[in-house]
């Protein structure tokens, strides 16, 4: 900035100096002339005083001559530019209607692009806040033959990572890490207990990222051993909010899952949420290696996040090749690693994740908007320049060079686009704030979106290119005029020539095509999200509150204690006024449960992929009643089904269809756990020691996410299955009134049972569904607003062209009407032109939308990317809107008084 300022003042100073110098010289030259003239006058007999006066009179206007000379030398471009801009500004002021429409058009196009670009900048382009970030990679396990996407990666097991690190030569360092939701209490002085994501990270984690603690120290190697791991690092954010930034925080104890941890470090807030597998961590503890962690039986336990730093100079491909060889060797050594490959990806590339297709779609949409805006601008300028044809012709006839005219038209365009750019920039800023307020839960990256110098450069560049590309062409058309023609045509514009009219129609047709593509995309997404949110979950969805609890093993040491706690809690909640029923469960729609492999007697299995499996739920006796799931056959769980009675299970209709199509499952037994297949190693899965008896068939409910069909579901009682009675539980509460009103009552019931236990993630099922569709809703709202913007621009475009047409053919229309043509037929003459452009544009747009289905198909649910209704409706809608836009200027034709119109000119 300062360099630019310095340069500008230098140039201005040099220019001023040269100008003053030249002015002085011209003055001296003219003085010499006057002096010699006066001498001559004196020679012819005049007294000196009169002679000087006569000389001056003979010369004429000296100031004028000086100015003319100055004009000749004023080649300094800055001055000329300033003058052009001044002219341009006054010329724009003279036609405020045109200027406002042009600026708004540009602002819309540039603003939308700036907003989306800043999102892309933040999510994909901005460099990571780590030293030598291009050396940082993630390592994933991939199932061979499967397409590995960022949306659905898998992590290796700790043993695999150990072997990768030991055998490879490409890496400086490598860590496996994880995050867990844990109950955290900060002591009486520091507020309520909270369920937080705790990062389980070896000491090397921070070293690899290159982060130094603000105060305190790294974890030691020693602290990675189980039993010595009771130390914690906290984020600066947490330090400020819970400890008021107190430097004596080091050594203070916090309780994590009921156990005390000493704070040894405060880490800066530089690790973005997406680096960690769960949500943003604010507490990290060492990753405790239990002695049996390195037993070979754990090799199948995959799912760890792996971070590594490449050796300097090692390319990603080399590292990939290196690890692929090792993975192949591991697969040969260990049956459980068969068919498991490895993928190395740059850390920076992993940040966008599932957002990538959405960003591409939005990028495409805003490019279309910008194109439409530019086309509109070109059209506006064409119309304006042609209307000024006479002004330009007169000026050219008076001696203005065509270079000068061109320069002035260009200055106008440049000025327009810079103002448009500035307004657009402001719009983008406002738009981004609005987006941040929408802040969908599953797009935490959007929080970091902001406007920086890169975005500014982008906006400036777009503005300049826009003005040069779309302003220059009309400017050329404006200056390449035929003086005689322009003057001869009188009031009528020379641009009524056939070829220029064709250019303008072509532009509007293009606009219509792009607008149709936007309309199709937006309506597909809107219909998709309506379907997605309108999904029948298979339960009574309203008035259902959900919250999460975690029973840490330190305090709740055995399944019996956990069962008692859950039953107590549910009983207390059921007793609250306004509560109809409540159930403690691990499964609820539409979330994924865990997939459990089963042995079903009579169902023969020889291959690994044939093993029966189902979504597995661990619930209590109130599950069906609370959620409102219908019982189809058999019986529900009863209070008599307890720890001592034979274990029972409920299966879903889909389960029955898949595994008991022809038989009656009621009363039959199945085994929870994978079958023993000779020669085939089955991945780690829970194996229960007692078989369960199926007692009832229940209705299907969504158990694999909103977008997928219901999978086979089996639900058992936690009281009967100690092995699967874990610490993480959800409570679902059916209420009679507004569910959130009960929240504090439920909290105090929980606190009465255990003051250290937080009640986390409290939300209604309606809210849960809304949050899960947040990403799609976000895209939909954006695309829909882009489509509206595009439509508005296209309407302005077609309206402008048709108005222009009407103005030009006024006399012709008047003649027709005078000769007896009906109003209708004259109106049709106008409409025909507009509708023709819209129809051709719509047809091209349909082809474009068809070609673009690749981009939309991944974002759609329950609707084809070439949905016939949308593909028929959108063009009809566009044509209708275009017809209305044309009818307004068309109506003006009807008000023509033929006698008056013919008298003009």
């Amino acid at each position: 900035m300062s360099v630019w300022n310095w340069l500008r003042t230098r140039i201005a100073r040099v220019a001023a100096w040269r100008r003053r110098d030249r002015d002085a010289e011209v003055e001296r030259e003219l003085e010499a002339h006057l002096a010699i003239e006066a001498e001559e006058q004196q020679d012819s007999g005049l007294p000196p005083e009169q002679a000087r006066y006569a000389a001056r009179r003979a010369f004429g206007n000296t100031t004028r001559a000086q100015e003319d000379v100055r004009e000749i030398w004023n080649a300094i471009w800055l001055e000329r530019l300033a003058r052009d801009v001044k002219y341009a500004a006054s010329s724009l002021r003279k036609s405020p209607g045109f200027s406002v429409v042009a600026v708004l058009t540009l602002a819309l196009g540039i603003g939308a692009n700036t907003a989306i670009f800043s999102a892309i900048d933040a999510l994909m382009l901005r460099s990571l806040p780590f030293t030598a970030a291009d050396q940082l990679v993630r390592i994933y396990s991939i199932q061979e033959g499967m397409f590995n996407t960022f949306a659905n990666p898998d992590g290796p097991s700790a043993l695999d990572v150990r072997d990768f690190a030991q055998r490879s030569r490409s890496f400086q360092n490598m860590v496996a890490y994880d995050t867990w939701a844990k109950n955290v209490s900060f002591g009486e002085s520091a507020g309520q207990p909270e369920q937080m994501e705790v990062g389980l990270v070896p000491a090397a984690y921070f070293e690899i990222l290159g982060i130094q603690p603000i105060i305190g120290r790294f974890f030691s190697e020693d602290e990675n051993q189980e039993g010595k791991n009771y130390v914690a690092a906290i984020s600066a954010q947490l330090w400020r909010s819970r400890f008021a930034g107190d430097p004596s925080v080091l050594g203070r104890k916090i309780r994590i899952n009921g156990e005390p941890y000493a704070i040894v470090a405060v880490m800066p807030d530089v690790i973005p949420a997406w680096v960690e597998p769960g949500r943003q961590s604010e507490i990290w503890t060492p990753f405790p290696y239990s002695p049996d962690m390195w037993a070979e039986s754990g090799r199948g336990e995959r799912g760890y996040a792996v971070l590594a730093r490449l050796n300097p100079g090692v390319a990603l491909e080399q590292a990939q090749a290196d690890l692929s060889v090792i993975a192949a060797a591991l697969a040969a050594e260990h049956p459980v690693d068969q068919g498991v490959g490895v993928a190395v990806k740059r850390l920076a590339d992993s940040r966008v994740g599932a957002l990538r297709p959405m960003l591409y779609l939005l990028m495409g949409a805003v490019s279309l908007i910008l194109l439409i805006a530019c086309v509109n601008l070109a059209n506006l300028l064409l119309a304006r320049n042609s209307a000024r044809q006479r002004e330009l012709a007169v000026r050219a006839a008076l001696g203005a060079g065509s270079g000068g005219l061109l320069r002035q038209l260009l200055a106008e365009t440049l000025l327009l686009s810079l103002i448009g750019g500035a307004v657009g920039f402001a719009c983008a800023e406002i738009g981004l704030r609005a987006l941040a307020r929408m802040h969908p839960e599953n797009l935490p990256q959007l929080g970091s979106v902001g406007i920086d110098w890169r975005v500014l450069t982008f906006t400036l560049l777009v503005s300049l290119v826009t003005s040069l590309l779309f302003g220059l062409a009309p400017a050329f058309m404006g200056t390449r005029l035929n003086l005689v023609d322009a003057l001869k045509q009188g009031g009528r514009s020379a641009m009524s020539g056939r070829s220029s009219q064709r250019v303008r129609s072509l532009l509007v047709t293009t606009e219509m095509a792009m607008c149709l593509m936007l309309l199709v995309g937006a309506s597909l997404l809107i219909r998709s999200i309506i379907r997605l949110e309108g999904q029948n979950l298979g339960i009574r969805q309203d008035h259902l509150l959900r919250g999460r609890i975690y029973l840490p093993p330190v305090r709740y040491t055995n399944p019996g204690v956990r069962t008692r706690f859950c039953d107590d809690f549910a009983t207390r909640v059921r007793a609250l006024p306004g509560v109809i029923d409540a159930t403690v469960t691990t499964v609820y729609p539409p979330n994924n449960g865990w997939t459990q492999k089963l042995v079903i007697p009579g169902y023969a299995v020889t291959r690994i992929q044939d093993i029966p499996s189902a979504q597995f739920g661990v619930v209590d006796q109130h599950f069906l009643r609370t959620l409102g799931i219908p019982l189809i056959r058999g019986r529900d769980f009863a209070e008599s089904d307890g720890a001592t009675s034979p274990p029972v299970a409920l299966i879903s209709e889909e389960f029955k269809r898949r595994y008991f199509a022809t038989e009656d499952p009621i009363g039959r037994k199945i085994h929870i756990g994978p079958p023993q297949l000779p020669g085939i190693a089955v991945e780690e899965n829970i194996t229960d020691d007692v078989d369960v008896t199926m007692i009832g068939v229940i209705g299907d409910f969504k158990n694999a996410g909103l977008a997928l069909a219901s999978q086979p579901q089996i639900s058992v009682l936690y009281s009967q299955h100690p092995l699967v009675n874990g610490g993480f539980k959800d409570i679902l509460i059916r209420t009679a009134s507004e569910p959130h009103l009960l929240e504090s009552e439920i909290r105090s019931q929980l606190r009465a049972l255990d003051p250290d236990m937080p009640f986390a993630e409290v939300q209604t099922i309606d809210e849960l569904v809304e949050r899960q569709t947040g990403g799609q809703r976000f895209t939909t709202v954006l695309l829909a607003s882009f489509a509206v913007a595009g439509l508005a621009l296209a309407v302005v475009g077609i309206y402008g062209v048709v108005s222009f047409l009407v103005a030009q053919r006024k006399q012709e229309m008047a003649v027709r009407m005078a000769l007896g043509a009906s109003h209708g037929s004259v109106l049709w003459l106008v409409l025909k032109q507009g509708v023709k452009m819209a129809a051709i544009g719509a047809a091209i747009g349909l082809l474009g939308a068809f070609a673009a289905q690749k981009f939309t198909s991944g974002l759609l649910f329950g609707i084809s990317p070439v949905d016939p209704l949308t593909f028929a409706g959108a063009p009809i809608f566009l044509l209708a809107v275009a017809a209305i836009a044309c009818a307004i200027p068309g109506a003006r034709v009807l008000q023509i008084d033929p006698a008056q119109a013919l008298r003009q000119d």
Binding site: V26, E29, L30, A58, G60, V69, I72
Partner: protein, 118 residues
């Protein structure tokens, strides 16, 4: 100065002033006043050079590189003047303009006196 001969005065056609200045400078360096006087005298006061256009014309040609200027002491007066002299580019320009003028004059003549052309 004889300002009353206005009836005989001819307006200089656009572009011809440049040519006349260049032609004048063919005799040697001269300052603005001399150039104007020379044109007036040689045309018997028919062509009056507007000083308001003379100086801009001189500067325009200086900028185009047809003439160069230098401040020098006048031989007959105790005063410095800005003397203009012809450059090679200026000579070429003069030749070009003279031949164009000749063509134009001939063409105008054929229109005005067709009989002479036969």
């Amino acid at each position: 100065m004889t300002p009353n001969k206005s009836s005989n005065r001819a307006e200089l056609l656009q572009g011809t002033l440049d040519m006349l200045i260049l032609r004048t400078l063919l005799f040697g360096p001269a300052h603005g006043h001399q150039i104007a006087k020379h044109i007036q005298r040689t045309t018997d006061d028919v062509l009056q050079v507007e000083h308001g256009s003379l100086y801009p014309a001189l500067h325009r040609m200086e900028r185009k590189g047809w003439i160069v200027a230098k401040w020098e002491m006048a031989k007959d007066r105790n005063r410095e003047f800005k003397y203009y002299r012809l450059t090679p580019a200026g000579r070429k320009q003069l030749v070009r303009e003279q031949s164009r003028w000749k063509q134009l004059a001939a063409a105008v003549a054929t229109v005005l006196w067709p009989a002479r052309g036969g």
